[in-house]
Point group: C2
Chain length 291, copies 2
């Protein structure tokens, strides 16, 4: 096939762009589920490692047009750049998703690109991961039971949204996601600033007390839980945080204000106020779990 | 035996004061380990429940003098009050420990009381627990593998400290603690302000964002970990926090200052500074785990 020549996708064939923790896990799950998988990766050695037992070959320009599902699993900018480079090669009717942890910046650009073609882009954010990164930590069961957030094109009607969701569920069946939630990019970014990004910031800040270096013998589950995600890929999270700076900054401000209230109650030895603050948190956590 | 008459303890017999999460777990472990267990509890129904399959009887004034080990497992003030009421009834040579999460206020008072008698008080803090409280959640394996912090009397020499530690290890063998760490009350309180108390404050503050009530479908492990200990027994923690207000306030101040640094970097879109802050936390967490 000559470069740039289009053809129809092979049903079920998957292309994965970027074999990190997320891309590697998608590739392994798809392979285990019997799908054909082709991948692109910046570092050649990882690609060669994956060729041994996970992927069927390299996601070259010639192969792009044969994929029914293309998963952009690199850093935000790398994902957008790859899509822009390949936009003309993707098969009509194909589904392209990303896996980036912020959705406004990605979806704005990708919906615009996709609108010029007869294939569909859908923003995705799998709510799974570990504190480790890289292909070596990826695994086929990474998404098992995890929620998947899906951002459909702004101009899609309810019927189209339901349709694309069903197709996505079928193509990603080997991943075993626990739920699929449709959301706007804006609502996703607000929620993720809180549930994921703030958690990483707080955990990362938590270990900066001098006491952290003397915790052995004095710590149990609560310390372990609070500091688990202090380990992180700094360049990647920097990009994700800056792409969601408004909402993340607001959440950090909220928790700082709330923490100050406990500090004030302690400093003034105000037992009643302190107990009210603690009981309020206890109640809100209980309510949050009920919803 | 007439009230107030002293006699020598029955070797291995355990008295537990307060059948909450901690006291209940000590009682269950001791019972499973073949020790005789007597208990006191403010609420009679819990005591009666424990009598069915865990304790051998009520820790009455008559029984106090027959215990080799007495575990004070109530709220701080309740523990000190019980010891003051019973100080004359405790057997010579007996070992009395508490399980309270702060050590300066408890140890100051209890060392002073014990110094008037020929039995020994040792401050203890088992580094274990759950976000739930009460006898219903207690279990025999609660302390399995957990660290135990031990505060020996200030005037004890190294030989006496080692001796009391060995005896404590033997008497608590059924609990299966993973380690015993000798510390001063002051060092304990500094560390615990960070590893446990701050974790509860941060977690409790974390759920106060409005986003907490919409987290379903948008959250994964990091949210779950950060908010696990948001559920807490507000009156109990209020007392523990106020008894350690100086050190806890300092730790809250530290994390507020550190959180502000990320917020400032975000607000000024300073990528280099943000990445430095994140890399610093990643490095400090790695170092803390190596120690």
């Amino acid at each position: 096939m000559a470069k740039g020549e289009k053809r129809t996708f092979v049903p079920g064939r998957v292309g994965v762009v970027g074999l990190g923790l997320m891309g590697g896990s998608f590739a392994k799950a798809a392979h285990q589920g019997g799908q054909e998988v082709y991948a692109w990766n910046r570092t050649r050695s990882t690609l060669e490692l994956a060729m041994i037992d996970t992927i069927d070959g390299e996601l070259t320009e010639e192969v792009v047009g044969t994929c029914e599902l293309i998963i952009l699993a690199g850093y935000p900018q790398v994902s957008v750049d790859w899509m822009r480079d390949m936009e003309g090669l993707i098969s009509p009717g194909a589904l392209v998703i990303d896996t980036v942890g912020v959705k406004r910046v990605i979806c704005d650009k990708c919906f615009e690109i996709a609108a010029q073609h007869d294939w569909t882009f859908v923003g995705c954010h799998p709510m799974a991961g570990t504190q480790y990164s890289g292909y070596a930590h990826s695994r086929a069961n990474m998404f098992h039971g995890a929620p998947m957030v899906v951002v459909a094109p702004d101009d899609a009607d309810d019927f189209e949204r339901a349709d694309v969701l069903e197709r996505l569920k079928a193509l990603l069946a080997p991943c075993g996601f626990g739920s699929f939630t449709l959301a706007s990019a804006d609502f996703h970014d607000q929620q993720i600033a809180y549930t994921s990004q703030l958690a990483h910031v707080v955990s990362n800040a938590y270990v900066k007390s001098p006491a952290a270096q003397m915790h052995k013998g004095f710590s149990a589950g609560s310390y372990k839980d609070l500091t688990r995600v202090a380990r992180l890929n700094a360049p990647m999270w920097t990009e994700l945080f800056l792409d969601n700076a408004d909402y993340l900054s607001r959440e950090i401000g909220t928790i700082i204000d709330n923490l100050k209230a406990y500090k004030d109650a302690l400093d003034s030895h105000d037992a009643q106020r302190l107990e009210e603050l603690l009981a309020e948190g206890d109640r809100l956590k209980k309510e949050a779990e009920k919803r």
